[in-house]
Symmetry: C2
Subunit: 246 residues, 2 copies
């Protein structure tokens, strides 16, 4: 069943006008008719089933409340040093499927890519659209947010219960337990953030500053992962831990 | 340090001629000189450090044996219903980084993509080159193999100790434990294979045939993953289980 999001709250038996985007996709593109059903998530992340009741005026009605959430029990942020080319698009799409809540792209010392000031809002818009589509396709109860920070100082103003740095040197040294230890200490509703360096890596100065501010290094297995693969490994591990093991 | 593979066996203090590919990349592209070092894995998956001793004739010498393996302790196969567009390229690159041993692309009933007979060897060549580069970049001790099978009958001739089907319906029904149960039963050196449907999904007939032949369905968390994301989740989970938890 198609899955959409609305910025409004919904309740059972309520009739509502489908947004232009939803009406365009469900009625014009998919050629749906009166009586056809779709999933819709309201601004409180609640999932409903709705039915088209008058397609000519894009009118629909909520016919069922679903008490179902596919969200992770923890609030997960990935912080990515600016990656090259269109890797940011791959990261946001896959991270959304894998359950991320917040995605931050950060200008770091060794980022080869740079986002010019006058391009940032356009890029964030584009990435947010990819995130919305991915959230619809993976039937999420919420749409992750994407933002850009241009310095580590701004990142350090953000507060998280658990803070990690995916660190290649940890993996090279055969470190195994730090990710597991952090997950062991993470309770439902806690927030957890993980930092991933760009292709050029994380500078020693950045690692020091992050560590001074409570970030802990951890390895993600012994193989060297590309900058866009590491967050997907991390998110898959979080899902395995909380969705399958717990 | 650069990381390469050779089809020969190597031993300490042996001098050898670098293959054309390695010489081209290390000497011509990277402009390395005599005395510059690189990692090289021989046909027995052993890792050595070698040093260029005469770059004009591409001669190198093995100067150190590294007793290091980044391979998973289990032999992992992913079987992917033919995906659309260039998703096969993304799958083989990321799966190699994440530690896969064997990748099979399978023509299934509901595959939207089709590989024409006269294109198969070209496609497999292209994918194998991507795999080799990814294996070099992630410093693997082996290069995964890639093959194409045009029917499920051929797949059923392959033998594995543990056989899984990543099944969306399992995830939708809130099934949580089947992947973990399978991993719990998997001992080092066992082989494990997982089947992932293409965009069109797995036909009920295929699920039945696979189940009759010992495949078990399992969910990969509650969110619906795209065909190219599911194997990456599976491989990350295998790595978390065997590289970090065990």
């Amino acid at each position: 069943m198609q899955h959409y999001f609305t910025n409004n709250t919904l309740s059972l038996n309520e009739t509502f006008l489908m947004s232009n985007d939803i009406a365009h996709h469900f009625i014009s593109v998919l050629r749906s008719n009166n009586g056809d059903k779709f999933e819709i998530v309201d601004s409180n992340h609640r999932l409903f089933i709705a039915e088209v009741i008058d397609k000519d005026v894009s009118k629909a009605k909520v016919i069922e409340i679903k008490n179902k959430s596919v969200e992770l029990p923890v609030d997960v942020t990935i912080i990515c040093g600016l990656p090259k080319k269109d890797k940011s698009e791959l990261i946001v799409q896959k991270a959304t499927e894998l359950g991320v809540d917040h995605i931050i792209f950060l200008q770091t010392a060794w980022s080869i890519a740079q986002w010019k000031n006058n391009k940032v809002s356009k890029k964030i818009n584009r990435l947010s659209n990819i995130v919305r589509s991915a959230a619809e396709q993976s039937h999420r109860n919420k749409i992750p947010d994407v933002k850009y920070l241009d310095s580590i100082n701004d990142l350090l103003k953000e507060s998280y219960d658990h803070k990690l740095i995916a660190y290649e040197e940890s993996a090279k040294n055969g470190e195994k337990a730090d990710l597991i230890n952090s997950l062991n200490n993470t309770k439902p509703a806690d927030s957890i953030a993980a930092f991933f360096g760009p292709e050029g890596g994380i500078s020693p100065d950045e690692v020091s500053r992050l560590k001074e501010n409570g970030y802990k290094t951890c390895g993600l297995g012994p193989r060297i992962l590309r900058t866009e693969t590491a967050p997907l490994y991390f998110l898959s591990s979080i899902s395995m831990w909380f969705d399958l093991l717990k």
